[in-house]
């Protein structure tokens, strides 16, 4: 055992390492060299450092310093050779004009998008969402809504029946009564959902379609609030320049009743702005006191307003779809046009 042995051995290791580094022709080979000399468990220089504990205490600082120096030199040489190999290999620069690698794009159905857009506006106006069954009784679909079955108004929607007095709801209005039965005022909800009518398929009719109901009930809710809130909705949906018109109409469950029309301003590609015709967007009105009474509320104390609108029709207008049936074909090339 001589004092110099570990130090001499370290010198030899340094020389071997530097030579091996210089002759490494690629990164893999260089990695092998790194593992051989500096690898944590098997590396030869590392082994010297690990073996320090076995040396006499007086030799440890000297050998330790030398080992650390060699380790530093070898590491630097590895680094230098590594960048030399990277630069020196003259690998062609990556051609970033090649197409990217993407994931599949999916999308919401355009009618769902319309429902969501409408929902988000009403959410901002303080509404929540309620739901009810699609198959319901005559009571909820007609009678509770102040529509006696022997009144001509019950004919206006040709209803699909399941069994006696059980039907597929012909509008989302049954949710009004179902919500009021479960909750106390104030009520401030919308209720999107499927409704069913005995209409044959054509460009503007399908026997099943989406509707969005709205209902507000509280003390001191007035016709002015009704007009203001729906006007606010229309301007948020179609733009601040949108004109809104309320026309008298008739629904058994609202009084006064109204049809709501909008006139949009659209900007043509050449920059000119034109007004559209009046477009009918919803039926609405102040909730009939009989409906409020049927819900078990005091109609003297509580008033309210309600509306029903068809998001499919609104989606048609928005996207220029000219045939409702296209929405139900669900051709992925069609659906992809609305993916955002």
């Amino acid at each position: 055992m001589t004092d110099d042995t570990p130090v001499v051995a370290l010198g030899a290791l340094e020389a071997q390492a530097l030579e091996a580094i210089a002759s490494a022709e690629d990164r893999d080979a260089l990695e092998h060299v790194r593992v051989d000399f500096l690898g944590r468990s098997e590396g030869r220089i590392s082994a010297v450092l690990r073996g320090l504990g076995q040396l006499p205490p007086e030799d440890r600082p000297k050998v330790g310093q030398e080992a650390n120096r060699v380790k530093g030199v070898v590491a630097a040489a590895l680094e230098a050779r590594s960048s030399e190999l990277a630069g020196g290999s003259e690998a062609p620069a990556v051609d970033l004009t090649l197409p990217a690698r993407r994931r599949w794009k999916g999308g919401l159905h355009p009618i769902t998008q319309a429902v969501n857009d409408i929902w988000h506006i009403f959410r901002d106006l303080g509404f929540t969402r309620a739901r009810g069954p699609e198959a319901d009784t005559e009571w909820y679909n007609f009678e509770a809504l102040n529509t006696p079955l022997d009144h001509p108004a019950a004919d206006e929607q040709d209803t699909l029946y399941l069994v006696d007095s059980v039907l597929l709801r012909s509008h989302t209005s049954p949710v009004q009564m179902r919500t009021m039965e479960k909750h106390d005022p104030p009520i401030r909800i919308i209720a999107p959902g499927w409704v069913y009518r005995r209409d044959t398929y054509d460009a503007t009719h399908t026997p099943a379609f989406m509707q969005i109901e709205g209902l507000v009930i509280d003390e001191d809710v007035t016709f002015v609030d009704f007009k203001a809130t729906l006007g606010e909705f229309a301007r948020r949906y179609w733009g601040p320049d949108t004109q809104v018109r309320f026309r008298p109409s008739f629904f058994p469950f609202t009084e006064p009743s109204a049809e709501v029309d909008v006139k949009r301003v659209i900007t043509r590609p050449d920059g000119t702005r034109v007004e559209t015709d009046w477009l009918e967007i919803m039926g609405a009105g102040m909730v009939d006191p009989n409906v409020i009474e049927n819900a078990g509320y005091d109609a003297e104390k509580y008033t309210g307003w309600a509306f029903g609108m068809g998001p499919a029709r609104i989606a048609m207008l928005k996207h220029g779809v000219d045939d409702l049936r296209t929405f139900f074909d669900n051709d992925v090339r069609f659906l992809a046009q609305f993916a955002s």
């Binding site: 993407r102 599949w104 919401l108 699609e134 507000v216 993916a339």
Partner: protein, 813 residues
């Protein structure tokens, strides 16, 4: 309702404005106009032509050679119509005139004969579809006079949409009242030309009114509250005068004869249907209003249709039996015909509900039943009867014989409805004063009888007695006549509601966002399905091919997939959220669940030049399925191989599950043991796919009715100490689920096992037949300190021992 603008202007003095402007006013009153037609507009060049002579064309069998007087001298015209005859009048288009469709008439030579103009059919004039012959017009005309004037075609007709509550608008008087404020504020009933003043006497009786040999009796006073009858003797049936025909045409009604036209005129004017019986055909000259008898089930209406009566239908009878279906249609047996001399004119009031159920049972609707169903003015009956009688006498001659019979078991009493101005303010949001409210209501026929302490006592006219019965009905009238657009539109403060946003909508939102992020497209499909795809039948289905409501969404999605594949769309990834219907107790609404279904086929990712295409596999499906299960149930359910479907699964669901490849199917089972979903690879042949299409994967999952919120995350301190990893290669028999191995490892490895990853499954060289080599990486970590190799080795040893003992699984040697 077809409304003549000329008629309207006669009834509303001072009313001006184009048809389009009138339509706009009506729309803002709640009666939108769907269409404006003015048939005469394009016919300005057409004149009345008189055929002076009509002879055979010398060179053509089917053509006639006519001499036509078109007012500008007699010209020769070649005519191809079979009905041309000398002495008759026809619409004539002279040379130089233009027909609808920009068809210019020129001088022509037809088979060698000169033709200077054209005799026209109604189709050529755009007045109808009849092309069989030229349009012969009857009456006293001067050749060359304007055809439009001769037939009164200068009118514009508004097709007004009348809502179900406003029976009063099914008349020109009703529409006129809505427009009165656009004119002088009045509605007048114009005098008829040549009419004499009638001031008949009335014989009034609550049960039976009798005058001479004629009698009227009401046996069912609940269904007929009043029946007026007037006898007119000595009429001569013939065409109506031109002005009357013009009026009727302008209102979309076809002239028939003077008596019938008079009843139609008054109906269109006042909304009161009237009926004229041939008095000679009424047995016993008597009218009995009663329900059909048991033995009176057969009846022929005047449209020659045989009707089957039931004993709840109200009939107008004579001494022998039914002569009309009350309020719906007269009978053939008492119809006014050319030979009729004496008529009994009926003006009655029937119960709307009875008329409605009768006409529905008979599957018919007439102008009369349509009005009775919606309510006819009970206060206008006398005026209507007298106007109609006067018009008949003016146009068909004859005279009123004896008093008017008035059988009146329930005379009408007008209602007075109280209107609180405070309530008007409270509902409409702005204050109204008594004077202004009175000014709004009175032009519509309401009478404000006075005010006490802010309450107006409003008398409702008969024609509004159906839809105005409550205070709120009057408030609507106030709002409507004030004008909806005149109300302010300022947003006022509002309170939030008590209804929470429904958690199922929120779950649907999360599912949609997640699946769209995974590259799926959402579909929407109607819930109707073929008979084998559900057990909830629609009683009156639209299509016999789709008579039930679907129990599952999957078959609809399969059809959408097939639709896409048939159009060459290779990469199809669809999902839908919809309702599942299933039968419950009979007579009850069906059970409804909200389902999520997805179907995918094609490549895993869009093609890219750097990698080879890879097809979607069962593992992709299992991933989607598991992720959605987690999103919907937060660990309250798990996926099992499909072979473990519990026997309790319902029939329809079993039927659907059978469309899956049994070796590649999964079921989702909730913690309570019920099957809430199924999925896997569609069995070969279960989808109609083109040869190039790949495997199709699908799943369907029931969503919870009231989803629970996701559990709140609790903070787990990040580790301070390093982890130790151990890789094991286990030899697992093919028959043993790796899931079982996983379970044993997790339960045996101790608390320090942080993660278990299966990173390779290998069969082949070096692995015994019938087994797989499953490579498992275990990661151990302690929160208390760096783990010692020995401790980890002990845990691994325990795992290996237990694997061998329990499952016979050994590490690879």
């Amino acid at each position: 309702m077809n409304v003549s603008t000329r008629w309207l202007k006669d009834m509303v003095p001072g009313l001006s404005g184009s048809p389009k402007e009138l339509a706009e006013h009506l729309a803002l009153r709640g009666a939108p106009v769907e269409e404006i037609t003015s048939p005469g507009e394009a016919l300005g060049d057409i004149v009345v032509g008189k055929v002076v002579t009509a002879g055979q064309h010398p060179n053509a069998d089917r053509l006639s050679l006519c001499e036509v007087d078109g007012g500008d001298g007699v010209v020769q015209v070649v005519c191809g119509a079979p009905n041309v005859k000398a002495g008759s009048f026809y619409p004539f288009a002279p040379v130089g005139s233009v027909l609808p469709g920009d068809f210019k008439i020129k001088k022509a030579k037809i088979r060698g004969e000169v033709s200077q103009g054209m005799l026209c059919s109604s189709k050529e004039l755009g007045l109808g579809t009849d092309h069989e012959g030229i349009l012969e017009i009857h009456g006293d005309f001067t050749p060359g006079q304007s055809f439009v004037d001769a037939l009164g075609l200068g009118d514009a007709t508004l097709d007004v949409e009348i809502t179900a509550n406003r029976g009063d608008l099914l008349s020109h008087a009703g529409v006129a009242r809505e427009l009165a404020s656009e004119g002088d504020g009045r509605v007048v009933f114009p005098d008829f030309p040549d009419a004499i003043e009638l001031a008949p006497e009335y014989v009034v009786d609550a049960k039976e009114a009798v005058a001479g040999e004629v009698s009227i009796r009401i046996d069912d006073p609940d269904l007929c509250s009043r029946y007026l009858g007037a006898v007119i003797r000595g009429v001569a049936i013939g065409p109506s005068p031109a002005w009357l025909q013009e009026r009727l045409r302008g209102a979309g009604s076809r002239p028939i004869n003077n008596v019938v036209d008079a009843t139609n005129y008054v109906m269109l004017e006042m909304g009161q249907p009237l009926h004229a019986f041939d008095l000679d055909q009424l047995a016993g000259s008597s009218i009995v209003v009663r329900r059909a008898g048991k033995d009176e089930s057969k009846f022929t209406t005047l449209d020659d249709e045989d009707r089957t009566l039931t004993d709840d239908m109200l009939m107008i009878c004579d001494a022998g039996g039914p002569v009309a279906i009350a309020g719906v249609m007269g009978g053939q047996n008492s119809e006014v015909e050319e030979a009729t001399r004496d008529v009994l004119l009926e003006c009655a009031h029937f119960d709307p509900k009875s008329i409605r159920s009768t006409r529905k049972a008979l599957g018919m609707s007439t102008d009369a039943s349509y009005r009775f169903e919606r309510g006819v003015d009970p206060e206008g009956m006398q005026i209507a009867l007298e106007r109609c009688a006067a018009l008949i006498i003016a146009t068909a001659g004859g005279e009123l014989d004896g008093p008017v019979l008035d059988c009146s078991p329930h005379p009408f009493e007008a209602q007075v409805v109280d209107l609180r101005l405070s309530r008007v303010h409270r509902l409409l949001g702005i204050p109204f004063d008594a004077r202004y409210v009175t000014r709004l209501l009175e032009p519509l026929g309401f009478t404000v009888g006075g005010e006490t302490d802010g309450v107006l006592h409003v008398r409702v006219p008969g024609y509004r007695s159906y839809d105005v019965t409550r205070e709120v009905d009057l408030i609507e009238e106030v709002a409507r006549t004030h004008g909806y657009d005149a109300f302010p539109s300022d947003l006022r403060p509002s309170r939030p509601g008590t209804v929470p946003d429904h958690p199922l909508f929120q779950l649907e939102d999360r599912i949609r966002a997640a699946l769209v992020g995974q590259g799926l497209f959402e579909t929407q499909t109607p819930a109707f399905a073929p008979a084998n795809e559900g057990d909830v039948e629609v009683a009156n289905p639209l299509a016999t091919t789709e008579p039930v409501m679907r129990v599952a969404l999957l078959p609809s999605l399969v059809r959408r997939l097939e639709y896409n594949l048939a159009r060459g769309n290779r990469d199809v990834r669809l999902f839908e959220i919809g309702t599942s219907f299933s039968r419950t107790a009979s007579g009850c609404p069906p059970h409804e669940e909200t389902h999520l279904a997805a179907i995918v086929t094609g490549r895993r990712t869009p093609p890219h030049w750097s990698v080879a295409d890879e097809a979607l596999s069962i593992w992709d499906l299992k991933g989607l399925f598991a992720e959605m299960l987690e999103t919907a149930y937060h660990g309250g359910a798990r996926l099992l191989p499909g072979s473990e479907v519990p026997a309790s699964t319902s029939e329809p669901v079993r039927g659907l599950a059978s469309r899956l490849d049994p070796d590649r199917s999964l079921v989702a089972v909730s913690d309570d043991g019920s099957v809430i979903g199924w999925g896997g690879r569609m069995a070969d042949g279960a989808v109609d796919t083109p040869p190039w299409a790949g495997d199709v994967f699908t799943f369907e999952l029931r969503l919870p009715d009231e989803p629970r919120p996701a559990p709140v995350a609790t903070y787990d301190p990040l580790p301070h100490y390093p982890a130790v990893e151990r890789d094991l290669a286990l030899v697992v028999p093919d028959a043993l689920p790796v899931g079982d191995v996983d379970d044993v490892v997790r339960t045996t490895a101790g608390r320090e096992l942080e993660a278990l990853e299966i990173f390779d499954v290998y069969t082949g060289e070096g692995v015994p037949e019938g087994t797989r080599s499953v490579a498992v990486r275990l990661r151990f970590r302690s929160a208390k300190g760096t783990l010692k190799d020995k401790a980890v080795d002990r845990s691994v040893g325990k795992v290996l021992q237990r694997l061998e003992e329990e499952l016979g699984v050994k590490a690879r040697g």
